[in-house]
C-alpha cells in the first residue's frame, strides 16, 4: 500500500513539475523574443527582462530535473535513465517519452552554449540558441502525448495559454525577420 502511494506521489510530482516546466519554459521563450524585438514597453527595465529570461530558463532546468528524476524513479513504469536523453529508448510509451528526451537534448544544447557564450562568441552561441524554437514545440508535443491530465480543466488552460503565448511570440519573430532580412545594411 505504501509503495503504491509512494509511486503515486512520484507520479504526481512528475506531472506537476512537468506542467511548471512547460510554463517556465514558455515564459522564457516569450521573454527571449520580446528582448530580441525590443517590444517591451519603454518604461520597463530591459535589464530586468533579460535577467528574468535567464532566471526562468534556469528554473526550467530545476523543474526538468525534478520532472525527470521522479518519472524515472517511479517503480510503476519502466522508463530507464537512458531515455532521459536518448529519444525512443523508453520501453514505456516510447514515442511520447522520446519527444521529451529530444526536448532535453535540444534544450540542453541551448543551456550549455548559453553558459559558455562568452567563450563561444556571439555567432556560435546564436545559431545554437535558435534550437530553442525547435525545443519548445517538441516539449509541447511531449506534454500533450505523455501527459494524461488534459481532461483537468485548469491543466488544459495552462497548456493552451502557453501554446498561445509562444505561438504569438514566434509569429512576431517571424514577421520581424521577414520585414528586416539583413541584420547589417552593407551587403
Amino acid at each position: 500500500m505504501s509503495a503504491f502511494s509512494g509511486s503515486q506521489a512520484l507520479w504526481f510530482i512528475s506531472r506537476a513539475s512537468g506542467l511548471a516546466l512547460l510554463a517556465a519554459f514558455s515564459a522564457a521563450v516569450v521573454l527571449g523574443v520580446a528582448a530580441r524585438l525590443g517590444s517591451a514597453p519603454k518604461r520597463w527595465s530591459r535589464l530586468a527582462l533579460g535577467e528574468l529570461h535567464r532566471t526562468l530558463a534556469l528554473f526550467s532546468v530545476s523543474f526538468l530535473g525534478l520532472h525527470v528524476a521522479t518519472a524515472i524513479s517511479d517503480p510503476y513504469v519502466t522508463i530507464g535513465w537512458a531515455a532521459t536523453v536518448l529519444p525512443f529508448a523508453s520501453p514505456y510509451r516510447t514515442a511520447a517519452i522520446g519527444l521529451g528526451a529530444l526536448a532535453v537534448d535540444l534544450g540542453g544544447a541551448v543551456l550549455i552554449t548559453s553558459m559558455a557564450r562568452h567563450r563561444l562568441g556571439y555567432r556560435g552561441w546564436r545559431v545554437v540558441h535558435w534550437l530553442a524554437y525547435l525545443a519548445w514545440p517538441v516539449a509541447f508535443a511531449h506534454s500533450v502525448t505523455a501527459g494524461n491530465d488534459l481532461r483537468i480543466w485548469w491543466v488544459a488552460l495552462v497548456e493552451e495559454g502557453c501554446a498561445f503565448a509562444v505561438a504569438t511570440a514566434m509569429v512576431a519573430r517571424l514577421l520581424a525577420w521577414w520585414r528586416v532580412p539583413a541584420e547589417r545594411p552593407l551587403r
Binding site: 528582448a35 530580441r36 525590443g38 530591459r46 535589464l47 533579460g50 535577467e51 557564450r117 562568452h118
Partner: protein, 73 residues
C-alpha cells in the same frame, strides 16, 4: 581577461559594431556607462574602481550581444 582585479587598471570597453543599443549596460552600471542621444553606451577611459568590479563583470555578462569586455592594463 576577467580574472581577479590585481594592481593593473581594468577598463570597461564596448564593441560598438556588435552593440545594438539595447541599453541593459547603462541600467546595470550607471556609474560608468551613460547612453548617447541614440541609445548607445558611452564608456569612460578611466579604470573601473575596485568597488565596482563585480558589478562590471555582471554587466559584461548581461549584455545580450556580448559587446562588452573588461580590458586589463
Amino acid at each position: 581577461m576577467t580574472a581577479g582585479p590585481g594592481p593593473a587598471a581594468v577598463r570597461l570597453r564596448v564593441n560598438l559594431i556588435a552593440c545594438d543599443g539595447r541599453g541593459l549596460c547603462a541600467e546595470a552600471l550607471p556609474e560608468l556607462i551613460t547612453l548617447d542621444d541614440w541609445g548607445f553606451p558611452i564608456t569612460s577611459d578611466r579604470a573601473v574602481p575596485s568597488r565596482l568590479l563585480a558589478d562590471a563583470r555582471e554587466t559584461v555578462r548581461a549584455c545580450p550581444k556580448l559587446a562588452l569586455w573588461l580590458e586589463c592594463g
